[in-house]
């Protein structure tokens, strides 16, 4: 009985699957040193950045794709991917919202992005990355009054090269892993944030990523620096059109929190997951890491992962500063043939550092959901503490939930706690709800939302609503 209802309600349609007909200016498919140079040339980059890209590319050539994750996919032909695709606009590039192609703005409207006045009402500043290029950043002025720098990565390279040079690759070096090396070589744009000392960023910062062009990989890079005593909350959303072929998304996100700084980074990832047969969908191979460099600093990751054919991502925190805090809150939903291998790493270096991991995996259809986590207490991490809770909810007979926690403690005063549970929506729960007049689909949605509650409450308000809506689409029912 439970299965039948869940099958009915889980079969979602992907509502962001439209393609926008916009002329784009792309470099021919394939990857070579020349392509790396061409990307850098088109972006008119300083020499140090080109040199860094080339080192990354040379290093990437020596690597092979990682095979340890519990995901299966055909070999990716990196020569068939387009590494640079920018929407062509009439002038050299959009200078303001008025210059942005109206079709693009329409796309954002369809996505429900609060770009125009809606943004103002919501108090959200949006940097929208379409394929590879950042097209518009709203509220630059208001932010610059506060001294906050929020701009596309390209603009940051032009206007603040010293910050880029100082921090780029210091949290995720290009040698980190296969996809980080690839991204470092070919990344085309992304977002940059700098919050000066003592500033509490006056609004939530937000980025939307969308892959539009076919055969295009998206390789964006986000760098956020929170200087001493500052605070920022950053939101990231993603969608892509429905296409039969797989598309690659290999992003890198680096966060740096200096003394007493706090960064809250929230993601609602809804890349196209592929169809019911497992055709198409995004390969989401992302490296996200934050460094709590200063004492009493804090980095908090919250992610809602409902999209992508394959998700491979481990937003992590390196807790260097004494008394620093790392948090990871995650909901990952896999349906049909989706595969998610996700989790976090908490590396405790400083004294009295604390970390919390709350991971909620929901599997339906033939979805495979893996939690992979590492908690490491280095010899210097006196009295460090970690709490991990890792729950799985199964909605079908054919799905799977897996957990691979690794705990490595080198300091005898450190404390580590790990709790895990696996449950399924029972006939009892469904019958109970139905006896109270609640339809089966509303009941499933309510039970799943209840399961995710600990994570949802960490999201900023407007994102919490969006996250619930996403699960609503996935599980078709009313939630509030």
């Amino acid at each position: 009985m439970a299965n039948q209802y869940i099958k009915e309600v889980v079969n979602q349609t992907y509502q962001y699957g439209f393609v926008t007909a916009i002329e784009s200016d792309a470099i021919a498919p394939g990857l070579s040193e020349e392509v790396v140079r061409e990307i850098s040339r088109r972006k008119d980059e300083p020499e140090f950045l080109l040199a860094w890209r080339l080192k990354a590319y040379q290093h990437w050539l020596t690597l092979s794709p990682p095979e340890w994750a519990k995901v299966k996919y055909p070999k990716i032909d990196y020569q068939k991917i387009i590494y640079y695709s920018a929407p062509k606009s009439k002038k050299d590039g959009p200078k303001s919202l008025e210059d942005v192609d109206p079709k693009l703005l329409e796309t954002y409207a369809k996505l429900g992005i609060p770009l125009h006045e809606r943004a103002k009402l919501a108090g959200v500043a949006v940097d929208a990355v379409f394929d590879s290029v950042s097209v518009a950043t709203t509220f630059k002025e208001k932010l610059s009054e506060a001294g906050v720098i929020f701009c596309s990565f390209s603009d940051a390279v032009k206007n603040h090269p010293e910050l880029i040079q100082k921090y780029l690759g210091t949290v995720v070096p290009y040698r980190d892993n296969y996809f980080a090396a690839l991204n470092s070589a070919v990344f085309s744009d992304g977002s940059f944030v700098y919050i000066p000392k003592g500033v509490r960023c006056p609004m939530e910062l937000s980025t939307y990523f969308r892959i539009n062009a076919a055969n295009t990989g998206q390789f964006e890079r986000t760098l956020i620096i929170a200087d001493d005593d500052s605070y920022v909350s950053y939101l990231e959303g993603c969608t892509a059109p429905m296409r039969d072929e797989n598309q690659l998304h290999a992003a890198v996100v680096e966060l740096i929190a200096l003394e007493k700084a706090q960064i809250k980074y929230s993601t609602v990832q809804n890349w196209y997951p592929g169809d019911e047969e497992g055709r198409g969908g995004i390969y989401n191979f992302v490296t996200k890491r934050g460094a709590c460099r200063g004492k009493h600093s804090k980095i908090s990751w919250t992610q809602i992962e409902t999209g992508s054919a394959i998700t491979w991502k481990y937003p992590s925190v390196v807790l260097q500063g004494d008394h620093s805090v790392g948090e990871f809150y995650s909901v990952a939903l896999t349906n049909h043939y989706q595969q998610a291998d996700t989790g976090t790493k908490m590396i405790h270096i400083g004294k009295n550092t604390r970390s919390t991991i709350i991971s909620k995996g929901i599997s339906a259809g033939r979805g495979q959901n893996t939690y992979r986590g590492l908690v490491r207490m280095l010899p210097t991490a006196a009295r460090a503490r970690n709490y991990t809770q890792c729950d799985s909810l199964l909605l079908s007979q054919t799905c799977g939930a897996h957990t691979f926690p690794t705990i490595d403690v080198k300091n005898a005063t450190a404390q580590v706690e790990h709790e895990a549970s696996t449950s399924k929506i029972g006939d009892d729960q469904l019958f109970y709800c139905k006896q109270r007049g609640i339809s089966a689909e509303d009941a499933v949605s309510m039970i799943v939302n209840g399961f995710c509650k600990q994570v949802f409450k960490e999201l900023p308000m407007e994102f919490a609503v969006e996250a619930q809506k996403l699960l609503e689409v996935s599980l078709e029912g009313s939630v509030g």
């Binding site: 019958f431 109970y432 006896q435 109270r436 007049g437 339809s439 939302n449 209840g450 399961f451 009313s478």
Partner: protein
Amino acid sequence: MLAIKNLHASISQPILRGINLTINPGEVHAIMGPNGSGKSTLSNVLAGREEYQVTDGEVQLNGKDLLSMQPEERAAQGLFLAFQYPVEIPGVNNMYFLKAAVNSIRKQRNLSPLDAVDFIQLIKSKIKEIGFDESFLHRAVNEGFSGGEKKRNEVLQMMMLEPHLAILDETDSGLDIDALQMVAKGVNSLRDGKRSFLVVTHYQRLLNYIVPDVVHVMVQGKIIKSGGKELALELEEKGYGWLEGNP
């Protein structure tokens, strides 16, 4: 109100073997019987639990064919089951659950949903009657509740949903005397001369507080004897063995 004719039902093997029962508006009927006699099966079949197969007979609620309805439609028609083992729903706020239940029943009855303010006023007046404090509304549905709290939560739901026919499935099991009185008080507050009750119980004790109009004795899937409230006392004294050999 409720008319059951020759009801047969099974779950892997026949359990109900021809139940006949009529409950008029405003009446309280008690069903007593030994373990395994089919009392809980009857409750579950009436509420529409799908594991049970109805193999014969018919059931009408207010003149409508109950057995062809989905469980949520039965609820909208005014049938309420207070569960013997209330189910936990982790992470789902008790008040949110109640509001969803009230409003989905209102929707099925073509009534406009209660807004948050009206709903909160209504529920605050009800929790006082049942002796809960407000913190109870903000806990997850039945999660970590004691046995008594779970049963009281069932009665609270019943008070909020205002059913035409309430079935209490062994609501007294696991209750101490104070909780029992509280539950009975809630039930009695709903007795208004129109609403009907079917009280399924193992012991006579509950019937001291919820006084029935009719008592039925169920043995091996059949009602073998019916009588007034004094029948319950007689059973308490003599046990079921007294009737079993003598249908």
